[in-house]
C-alpha cells in the first residue's frame, strides 16, 4: 500500500518534472526570440563598419571596437542629448499622468452635463495622425516664438499621449469602488484629497502602464523633434544617430553603438515597471 503510494508519487513527480522541462524550453525559446534583437544590436555595435555586411546572423568581431562607444559619447553629444531626453520625457510622463488622472476622475465620477462629450472629445485625439499636424504646428509655434524651446516638444508629446492615458485611467477609476470615495467624503475629504490620497494609490498599476506607454512612445520620436528644434540645446537622443549619417553612406558601427545606448534607458524603464504593466493592461482590458 505504502509502496504503491510512493510509486505513484514518484510517477506524478516525474510527470511534473517533464512538464516543467517543456515549459522551461518554451520559455527559453520565447526569451531568445525576444532578446535576440537586443543581443544583435550590442553585437553589431562592437564590430567595425566593414564587418557589418556578413551573411551570418551575428558577427564575431576581430577586435572588439569599444571605440564606437567612445565616438558615440563624444561626437554624438550623448550626455547632453540624454539629459534632454530624460528631462522632456520625464516631464511629459508626469504631465500626462496628472492630467489624465484628474480628467479621468472628472469624466467618470463627477456628474456634470458635458462629461461624456468632453471625454469623447479628448479621446478623439487618438484619431489624429501625428504627422498631419507637423507643419501647422510649426507655423503656430513660430508665431508664438516657441520653436527651439522645450515647449515645442513637451506640448505635442503630452497632447498625443493624453488620449491613450485618459482612456486607460477612466477604466481603472471605474474599478475603484464608489463606496470608498463616499466613505472618504463622509470623513470630510475634499475632492483633491480624494484623488490624491484615495484614488491614486488604488490605481498604481494603471499609472505604471500609462507612464511606460508615454515614455516608450516619445523616447524614440524624431520627426517632430527634427522639425521643431534647430539648436543643440534641447535636441533629444535620436539626433545622436543622425550625427553619423553621411551624405551617401553612414558610419553604421557607431550608429549601432548610439542605438544600443539609446535603447538602454528604455529597457531599464521597462524592466523596472514591467511587473505593473502586465497586470495593468489585463485589468484595463476587462473593465474598459
Amino acid at each position: 500500500m505504502s509502496r504503491e503510494k510512493t510509486i505513484s508519487n514518484a510517477k506524478s513527480k516525474k510527470d511534473k518534472q517533464s512538464r516543467k522541462i517543456i515549459l522551461w524550453i518554451v520559455l527559453i525559446l520565447v526569451a531568445i526570440i525576444q532578446l535576440f534583437p537586443l543581443i544583435w544590436l550590442v553585437d553589431f555595435s562592437l564590430a567595425s563598419s566593414n564587418e557589418m555586411f556578413t551573411s551570418g546572423l551575428l558577427i564575431i568581431p576581430k577586435k572588439i571596437q569599444w571605440g564606437n562607444y567612445k565616438t558615440a559619447f563624444v561626437d554624438g553629444h550623448f550626455l547632453l542629448y540624454l539629459k534632454n531626453s530624460i528631462l522632456i520625457n520625464g516631464l511629459a510622463v508626469i504631465l500626462v499622468i496628472v492630467v489624465s488622472i484628474m480628467a479621468g476622475f472628472a469624466c467618470r465620477r463627477m456628474k456634470w452635463k458635458l462629461s461624456g462629450f468632453v471625454k469623447t472629445l479628448l479621446l478623439m485625439g487618438m484619431m489624429i495622425p501625428i504627422h498631419a499636424t507637423l507643419l501647422p504646428n510649426f507655423k503656430i509655434y513660430s508665431k508664438l516664438g516657441l520653436t527651439d524651446t522645450i515647449w515645442a516638444l513637451l506640448i505635442p508629446y503630452v497632447a498625443f499621449s493624453l488620449p491613450q492615458g485618459l482612456f486607460l485611467m477612466t477604466s481603472f477609476i471605474e474599478a475603484v469602488p464608489v463606496e470608498i470615495e463616499e466613505a472618504a467624503v463622509m470623513d470630510g475629504c475634499g475632492i483633491f484629497r480624494i484623488i490624491v490620497q484615495i484614488v491614486t494609490p488604488m490605481i498604481r498599476t494603471s499609472i505604471a502602464t500609462v507612464a511606460i506607454m508615454t515614455f516608450l512612445n516619445n523616447w524614440n520620436e524624431f520627426m517632430m523633434a527634427s522639425t521643431y528644434l534647430s539648436s543643440p540645446t534641447w535636441k533629444t537622443l535620436p539626433f545622436s544617430v543622425l550625427e553619423f549619417t553621411g551624405q551617401y553612406s553612414s558610419n553604421y558601427a557607431v550608429q549601432f553603438a548610439v542605438m544600443a545606448l539609446t535603447a538602454a534607458p528604455a529597457v531599464i524603464v521597462y524592466v523596472l515597471l514591467n511587473k505593473y504593466i502586465t497586470k495593468g493592461v489585463a485589468m484595463g482590458a476587462v473593465k474598459g
Binding site: L135, L144, G145, S226, S231, G246, Q247
Partner: protein, 448 residues
C-alpha cells in the same frame, strides 16, 4: 434646446479663454527665445560696423567629422576665425528630414545659408515660393565654375544658387579580379552584358547595384538614355511637359537596363538592397564592379577597406550602346547639391559674403580634393599634387577628356511626384514585375 445652446456657448467661451490664457503664458515663457532673436536683429544692423553677427546655416550634411560634412565645417571654422565678429550656427539634418523641415522653413523664414539641389524636382517649388535670394552671376565669372554647371541653379536667366560638386556616374571595378581572370574593360554595352556569365561562373557578383534606393537605377537608366540619344535633355523635358514617354529612346533604354538585370549583371536581391550593402559587396571583394557616382573616389584612401581591394579600384564609364549617338567620352555627369542664400535673411550681405568665401578656389575645391570627397564644380587642376590615387587621376581624366556631359539625370528633371514615381517603379520594371509599357505609362501618369 435653449439650455443646450447656452451651455455650448459657455463651453466655447471657456475654451477660448483657456486657450488665450495659455497663449499669454506661453508668450511670456518664450520671452527668453524671443530675446535672443532680438539680439540677432541688432547684430545684423550693426554687421557693417563689425558688431556681432550670427549666421544660421542649414545643411544636409549631419556628419560633421567625415567627408563633405567635414569640408563644410572646416570652411565654417576658417570663416569664423577670420571674422571674429561672426558666429555661424549650423543645423544639419539628413535628406528626408532636411526636405521636410525645408518646407516648414519656407513658410516661416529660412535660415541665412541653406543647402539646395540644382534640380527641377527640388528647386522649382522652392523658387516659386520665392524664398531664395538672387545672386549676381557676373560676380562669379572668375570663380572657375565649369561650363554649364550653373545652369541647374537658374530660373528665367537668374541665378539662385551655386553648385558644390560635379558628379559622374561610373563603374568602379576591381582591376586585380579583372586581371586574374583575364577579363577586360568592356568597350560596348554588349561586352558588359557578356561579362556577367564568366564573372558569375567565377563565383563573384558582376555589378553591385544599390537598387533599393531607386535613384542609382534611375541614374543608370539616364546613363543608357544618354548613350542612345547623345542628348536626352530636351526629349525628357518634352516627355514631361506632355506626360508622354512613348519616345522610342525611353523604351530602348529601359529595355537595355532590363537586359542587364536579366543577364544577371546585378547581385541577387539588388532591387531591395541599399547603398551600404551594395558598396560593401564591392569593398569586400565579393563583387567585381560597383555602379555609383564619382563621390566614392575616397574608397581608394579608406583605411577600413582591405588593402588588396582599395589599391586595385579603377573606374570606367558606361560603354557605348549599339547604334547609339553618344561616343565613349560622352559622360553622364551633373551638378547636384549646392548652396543658396535666403531671400528674407536679415544678414543677407554677410550671408552672401560667406557664400562667396566658400567658393573661393582654395576652400570647397581644395578641401574637397584633399579629403577625397569628389570633384567640385570648379576648376581644381591647381590642386593636383601628383600624389593623388590612381582612381582620383582616372576620374579627373574622365572629366577633363569628356566631349559632352549629360546634365541632370532624368529622375531629377521632373517635379517631386515624378521623381518618386520613377524611383519607386524602376525596380519593378527591371526585375520584370511590370512591363516596360506599364512603367512608361506609370511615370507619365505622375506628371499628368
Amino acid at each position: 434646446m435653449k439650455r443646450k445652446l447656452v451651455s455650448v456657448v459657455l463651453a466655447t467661451t471657456m475654451l477660448a479663454t483657456m486657450v488665450t490664457g495659455c497663449g499669454g503664458k506661453d508668450n511670456s515663457s518664450a520671452d527668453g527665445a524671443a530675446g535672443t532673436e532680438k539680439s540677432d536683429d541688432s547684430g545684423s544692423n550693426g554687421g557693417a560696423s563689425g558688431d556681432a553677427v550670427t549666421l544660421k546655416v542649414y545643411s544636409n550634411l549631419p556628419d560633421r567629422n567625415n567627408g563633405q560634412g567635414l569640408v563644410e565645417q572646416m570652411i565654417i571654422d576658417d570663416y569664423m576665425e577670420e571674422n571674429p565678429n561672426v558666429t555661424i550656427e549650423v543645423e544639419a539634418l539628413d535628406e528626408e528630414a532636411y526636405k521636410t523641415k525645408f518646407k516648414a522653413y519656407s513658410m516661416e523664414g529660412m535660415p541665412d545659408v541653406v543647402s539646395i539641389w540644382g534640380q527641377p524636382s527640388f528647386l522649382d517649388e522652392v523658387l516659386d515660393a520665392g524664398v531664395l535670394a538672387e545672386l549676381n552671376e557676373a560676380d562669379y565669372a572668375d570663380y572657375g565654375f565649369l561650363d554649364g554647371s550653373l545652369e541647374g541653379f537658374k530660373k528665367d536667366g537668374k541665378l539662385y544658387g551655386l553648385p558644390r560638386n560635379t558628379d559622374v556616374a561610373v563603374f568602379y571595378y576591381n582591376q586585380k579580379i579583372f586581371d586574374d581572370n583575364g577579363w577586360s574593360v568592356p568597350e560596348t554595352y554588349d561586352d558588359l552584358l557578356a561579362l556577367a556569365g564568366p564573372i558569375k561562373d567565377a563565383g563573384l557578383i558582376p555589378v553591385a547595384m544599390d537598387g533599393g534606393d531607386g535613384w542609382p537605377m534611375a541614374v543608370y537608366l539616364s546613363d543608357l538614355m544618354f548613350k542612345i540619344t547623345g542628348d536626352y535633355h530636351q526629349t525628357a523635358l518634352d516627355a514631361l511637359a506632355n506626360a508622354d514617354f512613348s519616345d522610342p529612346a525611353f523604351t530602348e533604354a529601359t529595355q537595355l537596363m532590363k537586359d542587364a538585370a536579366d543577364a544577371g549583371l546585378f547581385q541577387n536581391g539588388y532591387d531591395s538592397q541599399d547603398y551600404g550593402t551594395a558598396m560593401n559587396l564591392f569593398t569586400n571583394g565579393q563583387a567585381a564592379m560597383f555602379y555609383m557616382g564619382s563621390w566614392e573616389t575616397s574608397m581608394a584612401t579608406n583605411e577600413d577597406i582591405p588593402e588588396e581591394v582599395r589599391e586595385n579600384i579603377r573606374v570606367f564609364t558606361m560603354p557605348v550602346v549599339k547604334d547609339g549617338k553618344a561616343t565613349a567620352t560622352d559622360i553622364e555627369a551633373w551638378n547636384g547639391g549646392g548652396y543658396a542664400v535666403s531671400a528674407n535673411s536679415e544678414v543677407k550681405d554677410e550671408a552672401i559674403k560667406f557664400l562667396n568665401y566658400m567658393y573661393q578656389p582654395d576652400k570647397l575645391s581644395k578641401y574637397g580634393w584633399e579629403n577625397g570627397v569628389g570633384m567640385s564644380a570648379q576648376d581644381q587642376s591647381a590642386y593636383m599634387t601628383g600624389d593623388e590615387t590612381e582612381l582620383q587621376k582616372q576620374i579627373v581624366d574622365i572629366v577633363s577628356q569628356s566631349t559632352k556631359v549629360s546634365g541632370t539625370t532624368i529622375n531629377d528633371l521632373g517635379p517631386a511626384a515624378f521623381k518618386t514615381a520613377i524611383e519607386s517603379q524602376i525596380q519593378g520594371v527591371s526585375n520584370g514585375t511590370i512591363t516596360i509599357d506599364e512603367f512608361l505609362t506609370g511615370i507619365a501618369d505622375s506628371v499628368k
